[in-house]
């Protein structure tokens, strides 16, 4: 899988207003999304996952580091960004808010085509496809069939799932290569959720799309993602294949997140106290140490590394690493080749509760 969209040493800092400290929303992230890959970016609210996604879309500018697409660093001129945004499309959480209530489905989907002059371009390239055909094709791909039936509908006439499909059709009309979906199903009903996730999988299969899905829902990641990156306070703390990260989680934070998924009742829930701390005051050493259960229960002290946890900063995880963890309990091994931490499939299936000493 060749890499399509990547970041290197990416930092995004929001300057503090009126003497407040700067907030480091993204504080050094190296990550790759391959062609046709579905990557889930997982973390709590406030961990910087949405800022990272927005920066990868070119909606925020990095304070340091870079975003690159197809091997080329992203340029921020108006023209370059417009071309880029056609190829990398955003799908928002709440389809009701994302659609103009006074626009028909047809208008909503055609708007992007007009902004990017796709019909004219297709004509110049010798293809004779009308706007109506392109809109119908996008709606059909998003699972709204027959598309003509939806042309003149208004958002309020559609169900939640249909609205989300219209939003996705709007993105697909531009023939993008990457979809960035920010919590694509969290505002939808349980029954619709699976349908939309199945659609994302089908789009990857049929059109070879890459998808970056930003979510706090590990069940969603298990349903569709090839790889998972767990983010905490501006950094990736664990990354690897979905089987590795959810089947044999190494970072105490990943374990805690997994243990509180309601379906995981066989795991003793590790409910962390407090919430993601302030990105303007990132703790010293390992940024997770003030909430880390392994530090609190003495596991870290037993391993003789508690001083490191509190005082020694961890390196940024390399994008090329297979299953990698930013934790002093798991000294960073020079794992460059993907798949070094092979997980036994039978173990993944039964999922034993892993003790912290790991």
């Amino acid at each position: 899988m060749s890499r399509l969209l990547s970041t290197r040493s990416l930092q995004v800092t929001f300057v503090g207003a009126r003497g407040r400290r700067d907030a480091k929303a993204v504080d050094g992230v190296d990550i790759d999304i391959g062609e046709g890959e579905i990557l889930a970016l997982v973390g709590e609210s406030g961990c910087g996952k949405t800022t990272l996604a927005r920066t990868m879309l070119g909606l925020e500018r990095p304070s340091a580091g870079l975003v690159s697409y197809g091997g080329q660093p992203l340029r921020y001129s108006v023209r370059a960004l417009r071309a880029y945004r056609r190829r990398v499309q955003l799908i928002l959480q709440d389809p009701t808010g994302a659609l103009n209530p006074r626009q028909t489905v047809y208008e909503s989907v055609a708007e992007g085509l007009r902004i990017h002059r796709l019909v004219e371009r297709a004509r110049k390239a010798g293809q004779r496809s009308s706007e109506t055909e392109l809109v119908a094709r996008a709606l059909g791909r998003a699972g709204l069939r027959p598309p003509e039936r939806f042309f003149l509908s208004y958002p309020h006439e559609l169900s939640g799932g249909q609205r989300q499909r219209v939003v996705i059709a709007g993105a697909l009309a531009l023939e993008p290569e990457v979809l960035v979906a920010d919590e694509p199903v969290s505002s939808l009903d349980a029954s619709i959720r699976g349908e939309i996730l199945a659609l994302l999988l089908r789009l990857r299969e049929e059109l070879g799309l890459s998808v970056l899905v930003v979510t706090h829902d590990l069940g969603l990641a298990w349903n569709i993602a090839d790889r998972i990156a767990v983010m905490y306070l501006g950094r990736i703390v664990e990354v690897g294949s979905t089987e590795e990260v959810l089947g044999a989680p190494q970072h105490p934070y990943t374990r805690a997140l997994l243990s509180v998924v309601p379906e995981m009742d066989q795991l003793a829930p590790i409910v962390l106290r407090g919430e993601t701390p302030d990105p303007a005051r990132i703790p010293s050493g390992c940024r997770f140490h003030p909430r880390c259960p392994a530090l609190l229960d003495g596991t870290a002290a037993a391993a003789g590394i508690s001083a490191d946890c509190v005082g020694k900063a961890l390196p940024v995880l390399a994008a090329e690493a297979g299953h990698a963890v930013a934790c002093w309990l798991h000294p960073v091994e020079p794992t460059v080749a993907a798949g070094t931490a092979e997980v036994d499939q039978s173990e993944t299936a039964t999922r034993p509760a892993v003790p912290f000493s790991g």
Partner: protein, 331 residues
């Protein structure tokens, strides 16, 4: 058996709209004992929030309510206004869905929590109220000093805890929570649910928890009722309904939240095709049959009743004519 805190019998709620009458709830019965938590699951529009609103008689004027809703043995549907004011907050309170926006942004949270206390008991002095506010905040895992904060100084999870503290202010016996954790992420959701289950255990209150997330209900509640198109289609012990659903609709809801690590759900998200029915044009027979993989010809003719079914017949009720067969295994 003690008297139930909440006893809903054959509740029907119909909304009168310009387009005719819309039956939102069509015969729901439900009861909660002290110290028990009961969950109601279902899609938007299934009537679960309407059921919740009738408990404190908060439904809009356009709603016609038939049947009985007893809170602590008293019928709320026919209660006088004065009595209703005593009931609200002091005997039963509610935690709302949009809780994150229901706090007054320009009032300190301590004052907001104290307000129902002072309204219900004029003899409560300022000092006593402040002490009680401190206790309540500590009960929900916040420090008493937080009373001086304004809502914007709190995070989403903290605001939701303030809402819980407020609901507990007048020592109610029954708390109704409508999607209390929907806007929160997993870790904060776990914290808030921990607080709520702890309160049920320690204070012996009854909790009615409403959510579209069957996995949340099954891990928090004792019993769960699944609603579809205004009716309960299955009710059972909470763990069993998630692990071994008998109604095809419960099975679809349970499958929507995969078990992480289950190879069956890897790359195959489970959904339920189609949309919930329009309450004004309900399908004939079983209202679920147009979306049901298990529907047979009889399903479009016979409207199934909620009856004991499955291996745990004593505490499981299912409304499906094929309930005796192993429906759950298909999904």
């Amino acid at each position: 058996m003690t008297e139930p805190l909440l006893d809903i019998r054959d509740l029907h709620v119909t909304y009168r709209t310009l387009g005719g009458s819309v039956p939102a709830v069509r015969g729901v019965s439900l009861s909660i004992q002290p110290g028990e938590s009961v969950g109601v699951a279902g899609e938007s529009g299934c009537g679960k929030s309407t059921v919740a609103s009738t408990i404190l008689r908060l439904q809009p004027r356009t709603a016609k309510v038939e049947g009985e809703v007893h809170v602590l043995g008293k019928d709320v549907v026919r209660m006088r206004w004065g009595r209703l004011r005593v009931l609200r907050w002091a005997e039963a309170s509610m935690i709302f869905q949009g809780a994150l926006h229901s706090l007054n942004p320009v009032q300190r949270i301590g004052d907001q929590i104290a307000e129902p206390m002072r309204l219900h008991d004029a003899t409560v002095g300022k000092v006593a109220a402040a002490r009680r506010v401190g206790e309540l905040l500590e009960q929900v895992g916040l420090s008493a000093a937080r009373a001086r904060s304004y809502p914007h100084q709190l995070s989403g999870g903290q605001k939701q805890r303030v809402m819980i503290a407020m609901a507990l202010a007048c020592n109610p016996s029954l708390v109704v929570a409508d999607e209390p954790t929907t806007a929160l992420d997993v870790m904060v959701q776990a914290q808030v649910l921990d607080v709520m289950t702890g309160l049920v255990r320690e204070l012996g209150i009854g909790l009615l928890l409403i959510s579209h997330d069957l996995s949340v209900l099954s891990s928090t509640c004792d019993r769960v009722a699944v609603m579809y198109a205004g009716r309960v289609v299955e009710s059972a012990n909470a763990g069993r309904i998630f692990d071994d659903p008998q109604h095809p609709y419960s099975a679809a809801l349970a499958a929507a939240f995969p078990r992480v690590g289950d190879p069956k759900s890897r790359y195959s998200p489970a959904g339920l095709a189609g949309d919930p029915p329009d309450p004004q044009r309900l399908p004939t027979g079983c209202t679920f049959h147009p979306r049901c993989h298990w529907a047979i010809e009889d399903c479009s003719r016979i409207d199934p009743r909620l009856e004991p079914a499955g291996t745990d017949r004593t505490d499981r009720m299912v409304a499906c004519i094929r309930a005796g067969e192993t429906v759950g295994e298909a999904t």
